[in-house]
């Protein structure tokens, strides 16, 4: 039987995980296509202008995507939900690409044009998938995924088309495969507000997400305004996905693997699931990005490829397990 952690043990576990993450980030700074000794490294532009922003960005993207996954899995009551599989990432990608190609420069509610357009398209995508998957007022995990896959393919095609027309074939790789190779401090600053808002909303809605574990009707009888909660949380997940996609393209499966795994280990209580998933998502992305930079060095693999190589088999395993258990 799984031992339940008390408040203090939970705190210790979180701190240990944070220390581990910090350690991984520092280690990652030393690794790369150019090897530098610590003294050289601290004086080098490579550290301050390239590796450091990149490692931080990887961690922040990990947080954005894994929390989106927690939220989507909770609110859709679907263990296979994830921003990439549901086509939200691809939708956001189309939005971001349109904004870049048109060179639109505007600021709405403090959002710069690229994440703002990405957000609008991410929202449209999630609404379409949700409506398509609804059969008699209910969504089953399988129809939701099918709708997501179809929309994802459609959006990826539009995205590729936009890039080809705009004449920069090179960046197709960046967008469709997901990459952190052009990470800058500017990117880090762009996503920080979304990290703070998203993580905050998710954490303070963890009681609603917990009540939803009993189903929408029971949550209603527990005083949860289900409609409102759904609106706010799906909006938040789309916003976080849009921010991530705006700076790193389509990176899949983080939002699927992390919450799923963490739930198996610590249970579905969102008050703990959310912070632990956040730290684990950060850790996963830092490790994956380090691999992306070093495995085939000096050639760099887009991080999306690494995540897909790990994530797709995991997803198939989950699908199969569900079928065997008949759930």
């Amino acid at each position: 039987m799984k031992k339940k952690l008390n408040k203090k043990e939970e705190g210790i576990a979180l701190i240990l995980l944070a220390i581990f993450l910090l350690f991984a980030m520092v280690l990652s700074l030393f690794l790369g296509s150019v090897f530098l000794s610590p003294t050289e490294l601290f004086q080098s532009e490579i550290l301050w202008q390239i590796r450091l922003p990149r490692v931080i960005l990887a961690a922040l993207i990990g947080l954005l995507l894994s929390i989106s996954g927690v939220i989507l899995q909770g609110i859709l009551r679907n263990p296979l939900a994830d921003p990439y599989i549901l086509g939200i990432s691809a939708g956001a990608g189309v939005g971001a690409a349109i904004s870049i190609v048109l060179g639109a420069q505007f600021v709405v509610f403090g959002m710069s044009s690229i994440p703002a357009t990405a957000f609008i398209f991410a929202l449209i995508a999630v609404i379409i998938v949700y409506k398509l998957a609804q059969v008699a007022g209910k969504t089953t995990p399988e129809t939701l995924i099918l709708a997501g896959v179809a929309l994802s393919a459609f959006c990826a095609a539009i995205l590729a088309l936009i890039i080809i027309i705009s004449g920069s074939l090179q960046s197709i790789y960046f967008w469709l495969l997901g990459s952190l190779s052009s990470a800058t401090w500017g990117n880090v600053l762009t996503v920080i507000p979304y990290v703070l808002i998203g993580a905050g909303v998710a954490y303070f809605y963890s009681k609603e997400l917990n009540a939803l574990l009993l189903g929408e009707e029971m949550a209603t009888t527990l005083g949860v305004d289900v409609e409102n909660t759904r609106l706010i949380l799906i909006g938040t997940a789309s916003l976080m996905t849009a921010a991530a996609v705006s700076v790193s393209g389509l990176i899949g499966f983080v939002g699927l693997i992390v919450p799923h795994w963490i739930r198996l280990v610590i249970g579905p209580n969102h008050r703990l699931l959310i912070p632990v998933s956040a730290l684990s998502g950060m850790l996963l992305m830092v490790v994956a990005d380090t691999m992306a930079r070093t495995v085939l060095s000096p050639v760099e693999i887009p991080i999306g490829i690494i995540m897909a190589l790990v994530g797709a088999p995991f997803f198939l395993y989950l699908l199969r397990r569900r079928r065997i258990e008949g759930k």
Partner: protein, 257 residues
């Protein structure tokens, strides 16, 4: 004073075809009211309307002096708790985690469970005598055990009234009796309203019965007043004889050959 008053309640899923057609009655402090009636008589629909899962078409529900339309969801949840016929066990939750969900209407936006919540959970767990199950995963419980956990969750909500939909329908006779005895004991703290299929079980344990047919109330009163051959014929079209249990003095029906 009435905890809950239904006044000419009309509701259903389709506005042209109401399922509940003008039902009025009250539930008082410390009562255990059983809602009985044939399949499709509207028992479950009535509970769903009271808990707010179904919009009223006409009439009103008054919950300890407040019209329910004037209360928000959280205020309703602090006064009425609902135990559905089948609740999904949450994978990965212990019994204690599940009972704690009953405290949801008391959590504030920026805070989590406090001492009061732990006290309420402890009390509910003790009332239902499930202390020994506290740390067990809910997915490993038997039907009878899980039903007690579901009731503990509702009790932790500290409602004025608990509504239970067919609390005994999935249980063997031992647990049917056990759950009914528990509910009869719990009514000292909270009024209880539950739907039943088994007329004899309801008659044995409820303090008052409401008999529905086709969404209308056809009899209401003490079990002896409601369980009569005439009423059974009216509701079920069954010829029955009613006897008094010599020990409990409660009315029970026996089918006539």
């Amino acid at each position: 004073m009435s905890i809950l008053r239904l006044d000419q309640l009309i509701c259903g899923y389709d506005s042209n075809k109401p399922i509940i057609k003008g039902v009025s009655f009250s539930v008082y402090d410390g009562e255990f009211v059983g809602i009985v009636g044939p399949n499709g008589s509207g028992k479950t629909t009535l509970l769903r309307a009271i808990i707010g899962l179904l919009k009223l078409q006409q009439g009103s529900i008054i919950l300890s002096q407040h019209r329910i339309q004037h209360l928000d969801r959280r205020e309703i949840a602090r006064r009425i708790a609902f135990v559905p016929q089948l609740m999904e066990p949450v994978e990965g939750f212990t019994v204690e985690d599940l009972v704690m969900l009953g405290r949801t209407p008391y959590f504030e936006r920026f805070s989590f469970e406090n001492e009061d919540d732990h006290e309420a959970v402890k009390w509910a767990v003790e009332e239902l005598k499930i202390e020994n199950l506290k740390d067990r995963p809910v997915t490993e419980l038997s039907g009878g055990e899980f039903q007690r956990v579901a009731i503990a969750r509702a009790l932790a909500q500290e409602p004025k009234i608990m509504l239970l939909d067919e609390p005994t329908s999935h249980l063997d006779i031992r647990y049917q009796v056990k759950i009914c005895k528990l509910l009869r004991k719990l009514r000292a703290h909270r009024s209880i309203m539950a739907t039943f299929h088994d007329l004899n079980l309801a008659s044995r344990y409820c303090s008052r019965l409401v008999l529905l047919k086709n969404g209308e109330l056809i009899a209401e009163g003490s079990p002896e007043e409601v369980v009569t051959p005439q009423n059974i014929w009216k509701a079920y079209r069954i010829k029955a004889q009613v006897k008094k249990n010599p020990r409990t003095k409660k009315a029970r029906y026996v089918l006539l050959p």
